[in-house]
């Protein structure tokens, strides 16, 4: 062919441009001249070549984009890129509330009264609330022993969470390289998983690992991450970073399946079912339901992962606090952090954190304490974090309308 191959444009990505380039290239020869006619066999070949080149270019472009956190679009790739930075995205979290429960007129058929052990409020006991016209199921998170007062049994500050309990069991097989155990449900609150391992008849509870600095060869920890399908998968230490499991160990994972609609704000709960066969009960709400949230969005992961990496799991600058608070409380609508020196009046040696939850104006005292204690574990010794209520400014808008009364047949009242 008369045309040099260097004259062939190779930088275009669109189908039409690639086809045009091929046709320009073919202008340099005399053997086949029908490339410009759509019906020609040459045109069929040119279209096929252009199509293959275009698809190849698109795939390359997508693959390259998915390699970087900023440009990745597919969730599993965003999660994977964030993992490179040490950031683990938050899972779905269930709405939780605190209640006081009183079981009234409790007496056995023979006139005796059951013991407080018999009257334990078992984990998984159901409560029901009606919120915004729909009914939601809440369950007790941990077994609670009551205090007895004559015929009444009182359970104070019982935490209940929205959802349903489920359990998965696995058997550890050391023949498998790099074993990971995928939970059978997708919507799992990772923060409320209970993982226990039974080895030689002895059952031990393992804790979720959040950092490697305190982990030894015998630490009973497990690691959790989101897999490519969006399910939570857990795995265990290798004998160096956490205790390694033995062949035949039984792994039981108990977790909450998070509802798709969160009943944040619910405050009226009723016992559904019985406690030791008794159902005459009265529930007093201590803290409204809050904290229910979906798993972290792609945009949120992209935003927080870089902040998390910058903070390096320690709290020094204000941005460190801001990133960490959002990790500890993913349901935050807004977070403001300022140093005590900027406070009015100044309070040196303190860092103030104001959190506005998504579905209410203020955090409960329990939630504040939880965030504060977590911050205390990472901050500098001489700085004390204070979690305070945000100042909510509500704006009342007064509008003055001007309109052309000749342009409508309606009167002002209509």
């Amino acid at each position: 062919m008369a045309v040099k191959s260097s004259n062939l444009q190779i930088t275009d990505l669109d189908f039409d441009n690639i086809a045009d380039n091929l046709k320009n290239y073919l202008k340099g020869q005399e053997q086949f001249k029908d490339y410009n006619f759509e019906g020609s066999s040459m045109s069929v070949l040119i279209d096929l070549l252009a199509y293959a080149s275009h698809i190849g270019a698109v795939n390359t472009n997508i693959a390259a984009s998915e390699l970087f956190l900023d440009s990745a679009q597919i969730r599993k790739n965003v999660v994977s890129r964030a993992k490179d930075l040490g950031f683990v995205p938050a899972s779905e979290s269930c709405s939780s509330a605190f209640i006081d429960l009183e079981m009234k007129n409790v007496r056995n058929a023979d006139g005796t009264q059951p013991t407080t052990t018999e009257m334990q409020l078992l984990r998984g006991t159901n409560f029901v609330t009606v919120f915004d016209g729909s009914s939601y199921n809440f369950v007790v998170t941990s077994t609670k022993r009551p205090t007895q007062n004559n015929l009444s049994y009182n359970y104070n500050n019982v935490e209940i969470v929205q959802g349903t309990y489920a359990q998965d069991s696995f058997i550890f097989d050391n023949q498998l390289a790099n074993p990971k155990f995928v939970l059978s449900n997708e919507r799992v609150d990772k923060g409320r998983m209970i993982v226990s391992v039974t080895s030689n008849g002895v059952s031990e509870t393992y804790a979720l690992s959040t950092g490697i600095s305190n982990i030894s060869t015998e630490s009973k920890v497990y690691y959790a991450q989101e897999n490519e399908e969006g399910y939570v998968e857990i795995y265990f230490g290798d004998g160096t970073l956490g205790k390694a499991l033995s062949d035949g160990d039984i792994i039981d994972v108990t977790y909450i399946i998070v509802d798709e609609v969160h009943a944040n704000g619910a405050s009226q709960f009723v016992l559904s079912g019985t406690v030791n066969g008794f159902s005459n009960s009265h529930v007093t709400n201590v803290t409204k339901a809050s904290g229910g949230a979906e798993k972290e969005s792609i945009e949120s992961i992209k935003f927080k992962a870089t902040k998390f990496y910058t903070s390096q799991n320690r709290l020094v600058t204000l941005n460190d606090y801001k990133a960490k608070v959002q990790e500890y409380y993913p349901n935050a609508d807004a977070v403001a952090v300022w140093g005590g020196e900027d406070n009015d009046p100044p309070e040196y040696g303190k860092v103030f954190v104001a959190l506005k939850p998504q579905n209410s104006d203020y955090l409960s005292d329990t939630e504040k304490e939880l965030v504060k204690s977590k911050l205390n574990a990472l901050n500098m010794l001489t700085v004390r974090p204070q979690v305070i209520d945000a100042e909510i400014v509500k704006i009342l808008v007064t509008c003055v309308f001007k309109y052309n009364e000749n342009a409508t047949d309606l009167s002002i009242g209509e």
Partner: protein, 139 residues
């Protein structure tokens, strides 16, 4: 085909149109791929247009006469006339080297296939060309 003339004498001929053979047949002597030239190239082009279904060519969804898609349409005059019109229009639009396109369907009674004959003139070239295509079901 055009004549190359030197001092009033024809010294060679040159093809105006030249295309690949879509079946990629080998030339028995040279071993090269066979070329279709001039009227044969145009005939092949018309045939390609008629036999290509719409949405078959990448990024050219409107390309093609879609005659194979019509194989199971009702055998009515109304339907046949519409097919003829559409086919002639497609050929006229997609193949600028031909004009006066006329489409004729063969006897359709009990033949279980569709005989299509396309008559056309080559612009600035040979008149009264025709292409015969028979479309039948494969199973």
């Amino acid at each position: 085909m055009v004549d190359l003339v030197n001092n009033g004498k024809t010294v060679a001929t040159k093809d105006i149109y030249a295309d690949l053979d879509i079946f990629f047949r080998k030339h028995p002597i040279t071993g090269d791929i066979v070329r279709k030239t001039d009227t044969d190239a145009i005939k092949r082009s018309v045939r390609n247009i008629v036999l290509t279904n719409k949405f078959e060519r990448p990024f050219k969804p409107n390309f093609g006469g879609s005659i194979r898609n019509k194989l199971f349409e009702l055998n009515t005059d109304r339907q046949l006339n519409r097919m003829k019109r559409n086919l002639a229009k497609e050929i006229q639009q997609l193949e600028p080297r031909v004009n006066n396109v006329n489409v004729v369907f063969g006897d359709l009674e009990d033949s279980n296939n569709l005989d299509v004959t396309i008559f056309y003139n080559i612009t600035n070239g040979a008149p009264q060309q025709e292409v015969e295509i028979t479309v039948s079901r494969t199973r």
